[in-house]
């Protein structure tokens, strides 16, 4: 009897508290999402909220945009998947597609695509479309794309006889050796040390490719090893700096690192933060080994699996995929259109640096769509760190990497 009273008192306290708190909070709950003609959109990109007003006026559908910081987007998506409470439309980065698609996060759009003008696969870069396909489903529509190219100082490389930058990795090594010989604290190039894609990009250029199904054996090919040895050479010979050093744009400005590999957003970074070297730098395609393929990154629009407003959601995506919208989005936020027609617009076509990225996008490779892909890249970076910094033996380390891959893939 006593125990019962005690318990009921506890329960009562809790109840009072919960009622109290929820009473205070109920007013702030959104009512919009329940509305027939309102779709919710989750995005990690800034500025979408203002951008969609035009669509809202045209279509009569109101769009509730929820912006999520990139750093925490993964956590947020995890909880949405766990509870099944997601938005109607969801932005997804290309590297996360496989992971979340396997968990059944997205609606299969295959049957819907033909009903819309702008959603056909022919409109987009082929490599971008490939990352929207998971196990014969089409789970997304490309929104914007992104790739890597080579930034270089025209003046410094020009003095070495490469006014257009090194076009092959052989030239790159030759030029880099000269650059590193300029003295202490002088390097040739900043390789993307924390980008888990980059080692794979390098391997693609040597003709390697990841075959889903082969698993760890993929990394046992000679051309893969060749690429990793090239990577090692840059650190071994001091052509690239092992530690952190200066911020890259400072090193680029003062010439101590006259080259780096990065994405289109850094055009603006260099323009803004290193205005003194205006006209003394340019962007060029990746150096070539067997080919000069770069990665295909960017983001897609997807529809959450249990959305009950699929039509409105697809209307919205259709609008976002329109070449005209895509150009406007580029103008507003400098993100490159996934729709190839948009690239014919003078705003993009007449900008030589952006066009270079456009050209590089033609030579891209889609990421293999396996959920473990990002993890494999991260482990490869760790392995390369052990080789480049820890002085580990390259063959043994790659052997260990293959074992690790087997474990991750659960072979």
């Amino acid at each position: 009897m006593k125990i019962k009273t005690r318990k009921s008192i506890h329960l009562f306290c809790l109840l009072v508290l919960i009622v109290f708190i929820s009473a205070c909070s109920s007013s702030s709950k959104s009512s919009g999402a329940a509305d027939e003609n309102t779709i919710t959109v989750w995005t990690m990109t800034k500025g979408l909220d203002e951008f969609v007003t035009e669509f809202e006026e045209e279509s009569g559908v109101s769009v509730e945009v929820q912006a999520i910081p990139w750093e925490n987007a993964h956590d947020k998506l995890l909880t949405a998947v766990a509870s099944g409470k997601g938005p109607d439309v969801l932005q997804i980065g290309t590297t996360w597609v496989a992971e979340f698609a396997e968990a059944g996060t997205f609606l299969d759009l295959s049957d819907y695509i033909t009903h819309y003008d702008n959603l056909s696969a022919d409109n987009f870069y082929e490599s971008a479309v490939e990352t929207t396909k998971f196990e014969k489903q089409t789970i997304g529509i490309p929104w914007y794309v992104d790739t890597r190219a080579l930034f270089y100082r025209t003046d410094i490389l020009g003095d070495l006889g490469y006014p257009n930058g090194p076009s092959t990795w052989e030239d790159m090594i030759e030029a880099s050796r000269q650059l590193a010989d300029r003295g202490d604290d002088q390097y040739a190039i900043d390789l993307p040390a924390t980008d888990p894609q980059f080692p794979f990009v390098l391997a693609w250029q040597f003709g390697w490719n990841y075959e889903v199904g082969e698993g760890a054996a993929n990394f046992d090919h000679a051309n893969f090893e060749e690429a990793m040895k090239l990577h090692h050479l840059f650190y071994d010979e001091g052509l690239s700096q092992t530690g952190e050093g200066k911020e890259f744009f400072q090193a680029f400005e003062d010439g101590s690192k006259p080259m780096f590999i990065s994405g289109p957003w850094d055009i603006k970074t260099i323009k803004d933060r290193a205005p003194d070297i205006e006209r003394k730098w340019d962007v060029r395609l990746m150096p070539k080994a067997e080919n000069n393929k770069s990665m295909m990154g960017g983001a897609h629009w997807t529809v959450f699996h249990n959305s009950d407003k699929v039509d409105q959601a697809l209307d919205f995506i259709n609008w976002m995929a329109d070449p005209e919208t895509q150009v406007k989005w580029y103008e507003a936020n400098s993100e490159l259109p996934a729709n190839t027609v948009a690239w014919e617009d003078p705003i993009l076509a007449d900008d030589p640096m952006v066009s270079t990225f456009g050209e590089q996008l033609e030579a891209t490779q889609p990421l293999p769509l396996i959920p473990e892909y990002e993890r494999l890249g991260q482990e490869l970076l760790n392995t390369l760190e052990q080789i480049n910094r820890g002085g580990a033996d390259i063959d043994k380390s790659l052997e260990a990497y293959r074992n690790e891959v087997s474990r991750i893939l659960g072979e």
Binding site: R6, L14, H74, A82, A103, E385, G390
Partner: protein
């Protein structure tokens, strides 16, 4: 009379009830769920569709003890605790003690100053300390070069990087412990000291006989929480080194984060967190036992 007895009996529960119930729901229940998860292979697909979760017994735990990175992060964590805890406790105690010596307004002012690191944004800390520690352009190495001492690879060498992070963290975390010590120092009745003055005790005797014994609670509290804090060491390696170089600064909490949230291996991450949980419990229980024997 019967009513009063009943009232007296339930009073304590009225006080602790709300807090305990909330803790049970939002801390204890989740940890039980996590424990269950640690025996499964739950990953992202399992999270979306519970039928895809398989019970795999102790597999996660067995794999963990073969995982070089995990073992390394465990060793690093012990290193952090062994060096970091005494450094943090002693330095905050000394600051609190020094603050007692100076005039009131100076004490107030310096309290604010010494508390500043605790409220400084972690990104600001990472940028400033990143500069201080930069091997080539950093302030520390510049100062050393004035004395013709060779540059130290503050964050580039696994062992030195650990020490650098400890220094940074002690600097950052002193504020809260200092406040607790100060509060405890203030609650020592003044008449103890007055009595000691009458007995002609010198300052050292007063410190050893009055101050330190009166601070036992506070010291115990600060030590226990500092040990727990260092065992859960996460933020500083996360922003400064991401566990590198060569996993030299990786901690167990960071490892759990990487497995659980970056790679969505919830089962594996939960298993690792349980090992950490057990280590923390053991460390705390040991401290409670030591304190008991100290009291008797």
């Amino acid at each position: 009379m019967e009513v009063n007895r009943f009232k007296a009996k339930i009073t304590p529960y009225l006080f602790i009830g709300p807090a305990v119930i909330l803790l049970l729901i939002f801390s204890f229940l989740p940890i039980l769920v996590s424990l269950a998860i640690s025996f499964t292979d739950m990953n992202l697909s399992g999270l979306a569709n519970w039928s895809q979760i398989n019970f795999i017994g102790f597999d996660n735990f067995i794999t963990l003890f073969k995982d070089e990175v995990f073992l390394k992060s465990m060793r690093n964590t012990f290193f952090y605790v062994i060096i970091g805890v005494p450094a943090a406790v002693i330095s905050s105690f000394v600051i609190a003690l020094l603050l007692k010596f100076v005039s009131d307004w100076m004490s107030s002012a310096f309290r604010v100053v010494y508390y500043l690191p605790s409220v400084t944004n972690i990104v600001a800390i990472a940028v400033v300390w990143g500069f201080l520690y930069n091997q080539e352009y950093g302030l520390f190495n510049y100062l050393l070069s004035l004395f013709e001492i060779n540059a130290i690879p503050w964050l580039e060498d696994p062992l030195i990087a650990k020490l650098s992070l400890i220094l940074l963290t002690v600097w950052k975390s002193n504020g809260v412990s200092m406040l607790i010590f100060l509060a405890a120092l203030q609650s020592i009745p003044k008449m103890y000291y007055e009595a000691a003055d009458i007995d002609g005790a010198n300052r050292w005797q007063k410190l050893c006989r009055i101050t330190l014994p009166s601070m036992r609670f506070a010291t115990f509290f600060v030590t226990v929480t500092t040990v727990i804090g260092w065992l859960q060491f996460f933020e500083e390696p996360f922003v400064m080194t991401e566990g590198g170089p060569l996993n030299g600064t990786n901690s167990m909490a960071l490892f759990i984060y990487q497995e659980g949230f970056q790679y969505s291996e919830f089962g594996y991450g939960a298993a690792a967190s349980f090992i950490l949980f057990i280590i923390i419990i053991l460390a705390t229980v040991v401290q409670f036992i030591l304190r008991k024997s100290d009291e008797n």
